[in-house]
């Protein structure tokens, strides 16, 4: 009974914040609403007896990824969107209508299937069982994920630097072909370090 109330409360909060993400024109308000979605999803994970995933969701999504997004929005000084041109204004009601039809179909299919599996407190969601699974059965995905993170680290640093080689190559690729001996500026220049 209490679980149902909690589900409706956090589910409603999540849907409300998700609608705010889509409906807001200022991207910073969308970001703040998305943080609200993450926190309500974290509470839903707690009602599903998955405390480790709930805590990791707050730490990784709300505490790291969204901080990055908020930094980018602040540094690039992104403005709010203006009103859509009148020509394509019919897209929004059509999208909402089709979304409602889709959700109706999914709900109908899911309600017709009776899972009838009661939720019993178990120790599936504890840190210990996740640790055991991650380091014994699923060790290979874990290691591949760490290499993926290394790739992301190198990629992000490469994208954000004003490196010498990249500017000269992009100068070559953005117009007609210029052979290297006909470029006026020196090919080697000082790299600028970005600082806050």
């Amino acid at each position: 009974m209490v679980n149902s109330i909690l589900f409706i409360l956090f589910g409603g909060l999540g849907i409300g914040c998700a609608l705010a993400v889509v409906a807001q024109r200022n991207p910073l308000y969308s970001a703040i609403s998305l943080i609200g979605v993450f926190i309500s999803l974290s509470s839903l994970y707690l009602t599903l007896a998955a405390p480790f995933i709930a805590a990791v969701q707050v730490i990784v999504y709300a505490g790291a990824i969204m901080v990055l997004v908020v930094f980018v929005i602040m540094l690039l000084n992104v403005e709010a969107e203006e009103r859509r041109r009148a020509r394509m204004a019919f897209l929004i009601p059509v999208a909402v209508l089709l979304a409602a039809i889709f959700i109706g179909e999914v709900a109908f299919i899911l309600k017709a299937v009776n899972f009838d599996v009661p939720l019993v407190t178990s120790d599936v969601g504890t840190t210990k069982s996740i640790g055991i699974g991650l380091f014994t059965t699923y060790l290979l995905p874990f290691e591949i994920t760490s290499i993926l993170l290394l790739m992301a680290l190198v990629g992000a640093m490469t994208l954000a630097r004003r490196a010498v080689i990249l500017t000269s190559v992009s100068r070559l690729m953005s117009g007609p072909y210029v052979p290297p001996e006909e470029i006026e500026e020196p090919l080697v220049e000082r790299t600028e370090e970005r600082s806050l």
Binding site: L28, Y29, I32, I35, P51, F52, A54, A55, V56, V58, I59, A62, G63, A64, V67, V70, F71, M74, L75, T126, T127, S195, L196
Partner: protein, 353 residues
Amino acid sequence: MSWDSLLNHPLMHPVWLIIGITIAFLSIMLLVAATVLAERRVLGFIQGRLGPNRVGYFGVLQPFADFIKTMMKEDLVPDQSTKFVFLLAPTVAVITAIMAIIVYPFGPTVNIPLLGPVPLRIARFDVALLYVLGVTSVGVYGIALAGWSSNNKYSLMGGLRSSAQLISYELALGLALIGVVLMSGTLDIYEIVQQQSGFFGLHWNIIYQPIGFIVYLIAAIAETNRVPFDLPEAETELVAGFHTEYSSIKFLLFFNAEYVNMITVSMLATSLFLGGWNGPGVATFPILGVFYFAAKILFFLFLYIWLRGTLPRFRFDQLMNFGWKFLMPLALINIFLTATIQAYWPDLMSLFR
């Protein structure tokens, strides 16, 4: 219905929670007031002068006088469309600062004559340490949003620098705590404190994790934006950093959040490294545990104030260098060493049994 079954009725559980939260919240607020006063007096003594001592006996009413004065000031709000974010930022900062106090055990299970055995904690769940780290991560938003919504380029710079410092040292903080988790085998703070009891304090984690303790302490000082890491909010740089445009109650909320953060971080240090409520004589008189816990927290707060009076501050690039290139690798080496020793010699603590 007897008194006992009334006390243990499942509907009384929220009532106990609310009573516990109220007591903890009030004592933390009183401790914040005492810390504000103690900081000014101890800084005064370090600098060779007396601090404020006029308002009550030894200046005891000074924080309340400051509170009333600041509340009476004019509340300025910048004239732009970001008013919602301007109001949201100090709220987020102070809520996440106070949310972290619910997982700490303030003492062992005490036998109160009319109520039976009362465990002196608010909540106990098995990912308590991750919860504290998560709440600290969300606390970055208070500062970032405050800097941006003030519509002032110095505040924006201060806010971004401060947030960058926070997220850098958050990593070293989390990594330093993993050594303790490896040794205790649990993320539950109540369990970690329980495992440090007995044997004349020889099971306190600071003996087995000295590097972890030092790394944690330095990262904690950086997390709370205190000297020597307080460049983003020092008065001589960037005016006052991210809280330049805040006045009256919103400024009080930020101020409060900073001191509550200091207290929270001290509570985490005492629970994980110094044995929480453990001390001589706790087994026979459990109520002494509360005093030992308070004494250890007060020691850490004194350490904070002492550092403020003694050290100069880091420049911002020195700060970032230190966090990423020295502190984080040191924390990783600590994890590596702890894991190696734990794998080959799991009964390290049985040396002292």
